[in-house]
Symmetry: C2
Subunit: 370 residues, 2 copies
């Protein structure tokens, strides 16, 4: 087994747990948040800055890298780690979520998905086999099975068809995947339907993947609905395998996800809102580009230990963003990424110290999202 996963502690009052994930590029602690480097770069950041923020495992996107610069070119460069100069572990998604998000630009059959590139409109075909070939060429430590993603809301029948296809595709992925230094995770689908989710979990568990993604959540449904799915789904997943809640990264969702037994998260949210001039503080979101911060010479978050908060004022960062200076979005990105990664550090400390539920409740009392 290329991926080793060891649970080092289970919380007494929740499903939260501490673990160690061993990969060919090092061991990371879970629960973990994975910064997203869509196009082989965490937007605006150097690898060293990601590391300084506490980033340990980076996600990159198969769909984007397949289209540009192309997986063969990345392989020629010696693989994704070498190409982007990230020597820690990397996870690539399957491309499924991106091609399904293309809407009218794609056509699905059991064979796979035909779609048009968002860059130049050229036609492409992605299938379980093709996704494996691309991901093997990219050379991440963890690769994801090619799944069929459904929108929200979605009726029972469609959700069932997509879920069953996802299982068949997972089998095809397993069959095609043969790179010994990569771990292939299955992805559980089934929409917001309990029996479909449980069927998906059982069918994928039978295929004995070294880890499992939970797909199709955080796609527009109310948060309580997502939490409810986790409530019944997580206990149906293999206890000794990492559980990865895909596309989730808001501080409140991270806490609620860990509480329900999730080990891994990724999301563009912290870095995306940063580029729009919105940052996290201990109290919630702060739109630093707003006029009220023009003469505010305090750091973004007085409690933060990031490079940005140790050096620059809200007034300066607002000036940079208003003036379209790249440094502005660099500083907000550093802050938001550090904010989320520090939250994960604190969560792990809280689990280790036996006070996680108390920590979570206290955190959420003060942290308000509008």
């Amino acid at each position: 087994m290329v991926i080793g996963f060891t649970i080092t502690k289970e919380d007494g009052q929740s499903r939260a747990r501490l673990g160690l994930l061993n990969t060919p590029h090092g061991t990371v602690q879970t629960p973990i948040f994975m910064p997203v480097g869509t196009q082989a770069t965490v937007k605006t950041m150097t690898p060293g800055e990601v590391r300084d923020c506490g980033g340990e495992l980076v996600l990159s996107n198969t769909y984007h890298l397949y289209l540009r610069p192309g997986h063969e070119l990345v392989a020629e460069a010696g693989g994704l780690h070498k190409f982007m100069r990230w020597d820690g572990p990397i996870l690539t998604d399957s491309g499924g979520f991106q091609v399904f998000s293309l809407g009218p630009l794609r056509k699905i059959t059991d064979q796979g998905v035909t779609f048009r590139s968002h860059i130049d409109g050229s036609e492409h075909f992605l299938s379980p086999e093709k996704s494996m070939e691309i991901q093997m060429a990219l050379g991440a430590d963890v690769v994801m099975a090619f799944d069929e993603c459904i929108p929200y809301p979605c009726n029972y029948e469609q959700a069932g068809v997509a879920m069953e296809r996802t299982t068949r595709w997972a089998e095809r992925c397993r069959k095609r995947h043969d790179r010994g230094d990569q771990a292939l995770f299955g992805i559980i689908q089934g929409g917001m339907y309990r029996d479909l989710r449980l069927q998906s979990a059982a069918e994928l568990a039978a295929l004995d993947f070294p880890g499992y993604g939970i797909g199709g959540l955080s796609v527009g449904e109310p948060k309580p609905m997502m939490y409810e799915v986790l409530n019944y789904l997580v206990p149906a997943m293999p206890r000794n395998k990492p559980r990865y809640l895909m596309g989730v990264g808001s501080p409140d969702c991270l806490l609620e996800g860990v509480y329900r037994g999730v080990d891994m998260f990724d999301c563009v949210l912290p870095t995306r809102i940063a580029r729009n001039g919105t940052v996290f503080t201990r109290e919630g979101k702060l739109v630093v580009r707003n006029a009220e911060y023009a003469r505010d010479f305090r750091p973004l978050d007085p409690e933060c230990d990031c490079y940005t908060c140790r050096n620059f004022s809200r007034a300066y960062i607002r000036h940079l963003i208003k003036a379209n200076e790249v440094l502005g979005i660099r500083l907000t990105t550093i802050h938001n990424l550090r904010f989320v990664l520090r939250l994960m550090e604190n969560i792990r400390e809280a689990i280790a110290g036996g006070y996680f539920v108390e920590y979570k409740d206290d955190y959420l009392r003060r942290f308000k999202l509008d």
Copy 2:
């Protein structure tokens, strides 16, 4: 005298010289290239990165900071050093060059210049007195007199009128400037006319400024014409004061300027072309966004010691630039700035070692600009 300037060595075979410029924020060696931080940031870079590239004295623009965020706000922040977190010396220009570049958007009288903001079209008035007030509020170590810049080509009469106004404005600047921790430099004008240049130099020398800018060069004239102006102008300038050739920063011009006795340079060129995907190499320019570098896994310049060249390939940087990733232009900016600053280090070493002219000739034989 707030600025101390000591000449530590004069070259035997050229007008090149080594010096030390003492400022309230530290001593720097000359000849020096000053990175440009137009809007209180060297575009795309943190202060630490500028420092790592070898940057010691940063230039910022009065016109831009006056319009946004406003000099009062910068003063409220504790001055420009604190606002932008640059603890080394800073030089601000007078705003003259920018407002005169606005073309039809400005109107000049002896009183000053009325112009419209490039940001929101609002009307503003800049004069020698106003420029001093703004620059005193910003708080740089070196501030520049408000001068009248002329286009190239420009007829003799217009060049003469502007030059004489520049002298009158220089007197008004001296009168208004009363910040003891700032050095005010005069600016020599006179277009490409020898007698006007010599008159300007003499009139400004009589005002006994602690340093002198050479304005109105590198404005579109052929390079040999600029060198010819330097040939007769520099010997007419005070020997014991720093000479600052404004807006010049191409490697060949830096060598030719030092050769002719220039001590200080600034230019947006290295960082601007970097953002367009063009970098310097020992052989000349390289357009890394071109298709021929798609699978070129060598560094931008194999002889370079910068962060970019120590870590990343042309193929990766090209990918980033094609994909509009900010890291791409960050990496090219770091490289180009380091390239120019390393050239200045090598120039200083060559002067110290007594082989500057040989170094210059050898450099220019290999470095080809198209």
